[in-house]
Homo-oligomer: 348 residues x 2
DNA sequence: GAAAGCCGTGGTAACGTTCCCACGAAATCA
DNA sequence: TGATTTCGTGGGAACGTTACCACGGCTTTC
């Protein structure tokens, strides 16, 4: 048999005040005598009172619940985002409702409905929908995360700064003597790809390189995709050192496997630079040098923006979080041994 | 300006029935005319009604919320557990509140309080506390997960079957010609270690091997821990093939690095078997052969048990989920080339 | 044919909290 | 001193739903 949990009325009785006064004391309102507050708090401790969030939400409209809708909590990047969001939420006494959409419209819609029914105060969403209808109908404050947020420029959102990331990566490649790397990119349909390419082209223009002369392969954002892309790259490349900038760590790791299978060595014969910062990159051989996205910071920042959104404060627009280089062992340093002698340098 | 959301009363008015009838129709109760139900459902659709879960929870005592308290959502294993739990919860129309405790008593206690205040219907908990006080005070239905659940044998819990996992691993080692491997274990304080060792000893007895004669090293459950342990192992081992069973994949990956640093090759000189099934093991070189825990299934099963617990159905006691072998490239096959010629075979 | 049971319906209370208003006492102002 | 403000307090309504009870009409039973 489970005993009835004490309510604010029990506390009020024990303290000898009305439930209004007890409520004020417990919620930290100012217009209560110190003496009354003391008595109420003591009584609450004595009876083991714990506020009923449902009742609070019911009456005040604020539930202390935040929603997080991401493609897959199993993906290390999204796990980091979730962790950051959860920590920042907890700091502010709020709890996080987590949902995985698996890039599925139906699931996303159903999760958004669940969020509404739970009366969350707001949500952080990585949208799978490519039109704004679903989100527009959401009806609650929300913040977008991830690169697909770019499709909704008018909405408050937080993402990694792909432009800056590409720049960091290219600077590093140049410093190691690979000014004109080959590219392994994601599917043409993805927004992130376009942004990546755009910045890459800017970089080429600055350095007087013809981007059209650089080898480029597409593939899914998976190990298999990277593996296949690298095989194609190696078929085109016969001699000299090959440097590759992959748009995704999993692709980079797949590419590394392809290099090994071709009887070549990384980084001696092929240099590989990744993008994401997945933990697995630390255990590959060689360790994967990569541009890491600040997943945790994105999650935290998204919660901050969401709070502003909820409070009706002027919206942030798009927030871009800076990425950073993690240097491990997958890049050869050609800057000293054979300055400027990369695969395609001076071809065109 | 955000318009007031339609309530069940709006639906009832539109349908021309009382709110009682509307409520019955919407909650799928049986004692309503088909005609009335139809009218109510149509009205609900027309006004865009969505049930208020807070009010339901307030009145009925069931919130449709489940809690999940794990050490760290960022850890791939726990992410899998969370994913499984979330999917199974969603199947049953419930939402998951996720918290990371970071093995910290204070955080755990505060998360449990948050769950109580949110009036969740139940919780799945990987307890960090080593005494039962906190959990005993929890006051809501719950199911324990992870190996530390072993400290609370009276409570319903779900974990991986370490005994079976060790057996699978050993069988595989034997089949490859490594009947007496060295061990890399976790810290002495951890429950999982004891269970691992116990089964290992049983295995040795069955095969007439003196476990005391086998090299054994401890370390933290991290890459660094495994790295250091393997270095110590290699100092003791001068010649012949060395086979190692690591109690954790991260340790195994660290060990692999140590092997490479010592100028040896895996699997030619050293065979390594891991335990966990982390994704990173697929990208190491060689790929890590390992015994994988069924994280997702554990999460799903835990939710099933929790439903039983909530419904007051007879408790399950401890549920053990079977692990499976993932064979990649980190074990040499000595069974043909040099039958039974492992490092320590026939020493004692 | 009367009593008893079933079924669909509607009205009302209850869940636990916060919000709003009114009240009296003390403090301040003219 | 009398009028006005301030402050702490208490009472009651409200949030949106489900649980409970009572009612009338119908069918079943003896």
């Amino acid at each position: 048999m489970r005993r009835r949990r004490p309510t604010i009325i029990d506390v009020a009785q024990k303290a000898g005040v009305s439930k209004s006064t007890a409520g004020r004391a417990l919620s930290g309102a100012s217009n209560v005598t110190d003496e009354a507050r003391e008595r109420v708090l003591e009584a609450a401790r004595a009876v083991g009172y714990e506020r009923n969030d449902l009742a609070v939400g019911m009456r005040s409209g604020r539930t202390g619940l935040l929603g997080l809708v991401i493609p897959d909590i199993t993906n290390p990047f999204w796990a980091e985002v979730a962790r950051g969001a959860q920590d920042r939420a907890a700091e502010n006494g709020m709890s996080l409702l987590v949902f995985s959409s698996d890039w599925d419209h139906g699931r996303e819609a159903s999760h958004l409905r669940a969020l509404r029914q739970a009366r969350v105060d707001g949500a952080i969403i990585n949208p799978v929908a490519d039109n704004f209808d679903d989100l527009d109908r959401f009806g609650l404050p929300f913040v977008l995360i991830g690169s697909s947020a770019e499709r909704f420029p008018a909405t408050s959102s937080v993402g990694s700064d792909i432009a800056q990331a590409v720049r960091i990566g290219m600077d590093h490649l140049v410093s190691k003597g690979h000014p004109a790397p080959a590219l392994i990119l994601g599917p043409k349909s993805r927004i992130a790809r376009a942004r990546f390419l755009r910045t890459f082209h800017e970089h080429c223009v600055e350095r007087d390189i013809d981007p059209a002369a650089l080898p480029m392969e597409d593939g899914e954002y998976t190990v298999e995709g990277g593996h296949a892309a690298m095989k194609r790259l190696l078929e085109r490349q016969r001699a000299g050192h090959l440097a590759v900038f992959a748009a995704n760590d999993l692709m980079a790791l797949g590419a590394m496997v392809a290099v090994r299978e071709a009887g070549l060595r990384c980084p001696e014969d092929v240099s590989i630079l990744g993008f994401d910062g997945v933990p697995a990159g630390a255990f590959s051989w060689p360790g994967l040098t990569t541009v890491a996205k600040p997943g945790r910071e994105i999650g935290m920042r998204a919660v901050d923006c969401l709070f502003d959104e909820i409070a009706g404060r002027p919206e942030h627009g798009r927030v871009f979080m800076p990425c950073r280089l993690i240097e491990r062992g997958s890049l050869a340093d050609l800057s000293l041994s054979q300055p400027m002698r990369t695969a395609w340098a001076g071809r065109g």
